[in-house]
């Protein structure tokens, strides 16, 4: 059963490329989120990786909703 919080994972392969969203993990705290992000998304030699609690993300657009007038 899911517990804790969803953390969004961001990473980049080189210093001159922007951080991009690579996925998410479910974790009880920040320490586990770091460990899970690093071990789950280990397909690249990332130069930078970070996690953000989804609850800390402030939506500006209405999340996932298609406007009445379409995309």
């Amino acid at each position: 059963m899911p517990y804790g919080e969803v953390y969004e994972v961001f990473a980049r392969k080189t210093h001159d490329e922007p951080l991009r969203h690579v996925g998410s993990v479910n974790a009880a705290d920040d320490d586990l989120a770091k460990a899970y992000a690093w071990t789950v998304y280990d397909e690249e030699n990332w130069v930078e990786m970070c996690v953000v609690p989804r609850g800390a993300v402030i939506p500006i657009t209405s999340h996932g909703a298609v406007p009445l007038w379409g995309n």
């Binding site: 993990v25 479910n26 974790a27 009880a28 705290d29 920040d30 320490d31 586990l32 989120a33 770091k34 460990a35 899970y36 690093w38 071990t39 789950v40 280990d42």
Partner: protein, 275 residues
């Protein structure tokens, strides 16, 4: 991070070292390698059955990195001490292993796993970190890689220690019991104050801190973490170190149990081994 040791005097080979420092170096490298070998085995076992899927993936990864570290340490032992890595794994009596004794048997439940991850694994990293920037130059590159990779082991251990401690009274009590077992065995592994082999390493600047200093720092941090979570861990430093063997880092002549060694060595697959 500043180097753990001063590098005023540097050594390229053990031929430049005093005999007691060379012996102490082999002992600590082999003891770390043995402990990491057993950690890799147990982490691999716990790829199945942890409380959540992410922990299964993490354990698989942690197992891989520990076995990679064993290869790095064995490479140093082979090049500088003439040890045969295959023999170190496959052809030693259990009583010759120098791993932390907590890993001698199966880790029967998740709190035992957490004790291994949070207390045993992190202590190994503390010992390796004490050799960062070592005067024994062949260690340096391997140590940097290992310490960097161990950050995620520490996050995993810390996160699960905290998580299990906060689950409830029963879980916390079992975590306290397993952590106490792990702590007692780590204290024995680190050895007595004034261990001459360890002192020789510090004197030669191969290590920046003695194992006693490492133990005290580990205890301080562990108690500071465990106390607020309601875990009352006891610091049980033996009064009597009689019989403590610096080569095996314990006072008894036991070792990993036969079942673990059988599986770890691939006992059923010896005919398929490549020469």
């Amino acid at each position: 991070m500043t180097p753990a040791v001063s590098t005023d005097t540097e050594y390229d080979s053990i031929a430049d070292l005093a005999a007691d420092a060379a012996t102490g170096l082999r002992n600590v490298l082999l003891a770390c390698a043995d402990t990491k070998l057993l950690l890799g085995y147990h982490y691999g076992e716990w790829t199945f059955g942890p409380p959540e899927l992410e922990a299964a993936v993490a354990n698989c990864s942690l197992s891989q990195t520990e076995l990679g570290h064993v290869r790095l340490l064995h490479a140093v032992l082979k090049k500088h001490f003439g040890d045969d890595p295959d023999r170190l794994v496959d052809d030693r009596d259990a009583a010759a292993f120098a791993n932390v004794s907590f890993l001698d048997t199966d880790l029967p439940d998740w709190p035992a796993y957490v004790g291994a991850n949070f207390i045993v694994d992190v202590t190994m990293t503390r010992v390796l970190h004490a050799m960062r920037g070592s005067a024994f130059k062949p260690l340096r590159m391997s140590l940097d890689k290992m310490i960097d990779e161990e950050r995620y082991h520490a996050h995993h251990g810390t996160g699960w220690f905290r998580t299990v401690a906060q689950r409830g009274d029963e879980e916390r009590a079992l975590l306290a019991a397993r952590s106490q077992e792990a702590l007692d065995s780590v204290i024995e592994w680190l050895g007595p104050p004034g261990d001459p082999g360890d002192g020789a390493l510090v004197d030669a600047r191969i290590k920046g801190r003695s194992n006693t200093d490492i133990r005290d720092a580990m205890l301080e941090e562990l108690i500071a973490t465990a106390g607020p979570l309601g875990l009352d861990l006891k610091v049980r430093i033996p009064d009597d170190w009689q019989g403590w063997n610096p080569a095996t880092r314990r006072r008894t002549s036991d070792g990993p149990n036969a079942d673990i060694l059988y599986h770890l060595r691939g006992g059923g697959n010896t005919i398929f081994k490549l020469a």
